[in-house]
Subunit: 487 residues, 2 copies
């Protein structure tokens, strides 16, 4: 009945089991070596733009190359030209943690190669994610209404907080039924991804009202200014459909008042999104939950375990209190995605909770991390970093060449040399030139409205210990002396 | 100078090198076992909604669990409840290939844990991606103007084709300067992600004009209808800012004419985006490049190596001829992202080419796959699947109980039982119930406008060989007899 098939096209050679096993083991060892030796490497590579491009062939190879060549090129070309985000001397931006169980989760996810767009396209992918987001929600003290177990709310893994904000924004727009010209509100300290999401979703720059933060209130959004602005806008027939509260801003870790913003949002019918991308990880420790006091008033909440909870990028967690708004905004079902489970109802199809259609099995790494460390281990991890930052803050305070730009937020300390910005700029350049540490900068207005450049010390790499922070402080003191003597 | 730090908070225990090494090796073995045994597993698991949820604890563990427990739960709870996308009997949707070198790339990317948002945050991450997109562009025959080497165009890795479409859409909107009410145009066979992107970017459902496809032209968009519609719209003062050509639609693999749509786009000033998510992989074979004849007229082009080019999800490749429009649409630079390299110019910051800010090191897996297989190996892989599909198509044609719904497109064959839809629906249910194969369905209107339900046979899993396709055909024949006898 079935005729023999022709074999004019020979299938390509795949790696054998033994080759894959060998290469996998070598990479595990390479990663172990990298993690062990990372302290000896300059945190930031000194490479010129274009140097890797020049070292790579202009055209792809026609015939297969040997794995040995490929692997040795990793060591020769790639390792010297990456920024070592996992270095214990990395204090820049916010951390982007890796850990062994998370790496194993990524490995397994890649090996299984399943697509979780629908419940039916891989049930375990969806259900493990539901349970992990409920676990995580419980760990950070979210009300039950945010949980899948509520049947109404629920959490979902996004790639980044930028995507989470965009999802919240389109859900908010979809929920808004009042007419009027749409306006969104956020602190002038909100992350740039809010402005980016505003653009993507088709609103104009002016449709995002940036409410002044208060230098005398640690750069929290001035809730009174928000309320006033919304009153004026509403009087003008404008539709305040979206408010973003930032809990732990990127520049200084400022904490907008969720309770106040929630009150205002409820008054005017706006959606309240809480962006706690960095600070959210600290909520695993009950002593930090005051940061989100009033969270029951939020419609959505996001934080990034991929920043500071030992879970490799990408894994941003977004919860909503009412999933219907997200589904209304994002659900489109063509014939080719119809399936019995969806039609019967009672299953969650996460493609309707996100921008893309496809999704990989990211809940595995969260499962492994939470079980491998336990809640207690994750709490200890966070507390240790906060303690290191607290100690660092004290050193800064005790040295009167420096000033704190804002009170420490968790593991973030913002400081500058008193006086002209140029000194602090020079200090940062000198510090990063040592290769032993890497820090980044930002700028905020002081009480007089003058922009002040400062250095951010963001503690949170997986392997950062007390002696790394001590070493950073020694370097800061040494380079400060050089700056001040030179100046 | 530095006082000793208190140690009241003990850092958590991380896996030791030996533990990680052991666990990594076990997972590599688990993946090898999985790939080897996958043929014996039902392609689609038979699990009830909620069964994994019930098997998982409601709350996270307070204390660390042993890796043995975690690992054995993977085998006990996860493996039986995933859809086996890597099974050689998986013919549903479109493929989502995994391969050993791609898995190794994901592993390494996770282990290095770098962030590629800016050139300066990990130079190798950006430059390897630039070179890989130039390699890939050359492999599929894109004009040089799409390459980074042109200094004007260039390619970028996106998570999915959905995101690529959204990026193209916002770039198109940003480029449009003519005023008027914005309208986008796509085939009624275009992927649902186009409609989703339209919603996300704030346009209304009616702002996407779905142009009729032609059943007598293999469901390609009727270019004359597009031209006519745009003429009418322009006469009404409407702004045709975006046209999407689909090369290889999801339902039947229809090929819109890039040359014709490009001509129309140039006439009216619209952006032409080419979505070749599935079919694009076949362009590595020169004999298939006629599919994108006229590509020099496109502003952007996307395909998914994560579908059919042995590169694990997620890796969607997007090229533009003029990067300036993407940058104008998406670039926002707050103080905390400013850096010397960006300010000096001459570097690419890929965060401005995508929706999110953060990005992981996905170019590694592409580099490994291209080098491990060589261009010749990837060509052989594609040609082998197309040959299998061609054989399958012939069997369908020779059996007059069946009809082809459209001519085969590459490795996709769309067929149905002649007569009522219910027979075909029953056949699909019976086939999938065998557990030996998994296929999915779609529906298109026939020449009379009646919707016809059909089965899609999408060949492309990494390990699909001739005997798997033969076995699928045998099952189809057996179950067809049962359906027809029963009916």
């Amino acid at each position: 009945m079935v005729s023999a098939m022709s074999e004019s096209q020979v299938a390509p050679e795949h790696m054998t089991r033994e080759e894959f096993r060998q290469a996998g083991l070598e990479f595990i060892d390479l990663i172990c070596d990298y993690w062990e030796d990372i302290e000896e490497l300059p945190v930031n590579p000194s490479v010129d733009p274009g140097s890797l491009l020049e070292a790579l062939p202009e055209s792809p190879p026609q015939e297969p190359e040997s794995w040995d060549d490929i692997q040795s090129d990793v060591r020769r070309l790639i390792l010297p030209a990456i920024t070592n985000w996992q270095s214990p001397g990395f204090f820049g931006y916010f951390p982007a943690n890796a850990s062994a169980p998370a790496v194993l989760g990524e490995l397994l996810s890649a090996g299984l190669g399943v697509q979780g767009m629908l419940w039916s396209t891989s049930p375990a992918c969806t259900e493990l994610e539901m349970r992990m987001l409920d676990w995580l929600g419980e760990m950070i003290g979210l009300p039950d209404t945010f949980m899948h177990s509520s049947g109404v709310g629920g959490g979902v893994i996004q790639g980044t907080a930028s995507e989470a904000s965009l999802v919240a924004l389109v859900a908010a727009r979809s929920r808004w039924s009042g007419g009027g010209e749409l306006k969104a509100y956020a602190s002038d300290q909100a992350h740039s991804s809010i402005a980016k999401a505003i653009r993507i979703c088709g609103l104009q720059e002016d449709d995002l009202r940036l409410i002044k933060s208060d230098p005398d209130d640690a750069y929290a959004m001035q809730s009174e200014a928000l309320e006033e602005r919304i009153k004026l806008d509403v009087a003008d027939g404008v539709a305040p459909f979206f408010i973003c509260a930032t809990v732990g801003t990127t520049s200084t870790g400022a904490l907008d008042s969720v309770r106040e913003l929630g009150r205002i949002a409820r008054q005017c019918g706006a959606w309240l999104h809480v962006d706690a991308a960095y600070a959210g990880s600290a909520l695993v420790c009950p002593e930090h939950r005051a940061m989100i006091d009033g969270i029951e008033r939020a419609d959505s909440f996001c934080f990034n375990p991929h920043k500071w909870l030992l879970t490799n990028f990408d894994l941003s967690a977004l919860w909503v209190q009412d999933r219907a708004h997200v589904l209304n905004a994002l659900s489109i079902t063509p014939e080719y995605l119809k399936n019995t489970a969806t039609e019967r109802g009672g299953v969650v199809d996460f493609r309707d909770w996100q921008i893309p259609l496809g999704r990989r099995f990211r809940a595995l790494k969260l499962w492994f991390v939470i079980r491998q460390y336990g809640v207690a281990g994750l709490q200890a991890y966070i507390r240790r970093h906060i303690e290191l930052a607290s100690q660092f803050e004290q050193w800064v305070e005790e040295d009167d060449r420096f000033e704190l730009v804002a009170p420490r937020c968790l593991s973030l300390v913002c400081f500058r040399l008193r006086g002209d910005d140029d000194r602090t700029r020079e200090l940062l350049e000198r510090l990063n030139a040592t290769g032993e540490v890497f820090l980044t900068h930002s700028a905020v207005p002081d009480s007089t409205g003058t922009m002040r450049y400062f250095i951010r010390m963001a503690i949170g790499a997986t392997k950062t210990e007390d002696h790394h922070v001590q070493r950073a402080w020694s370097l800061i003191q040494r380079e400060t002396s050089a700056v001040l003597d030179g100046g």
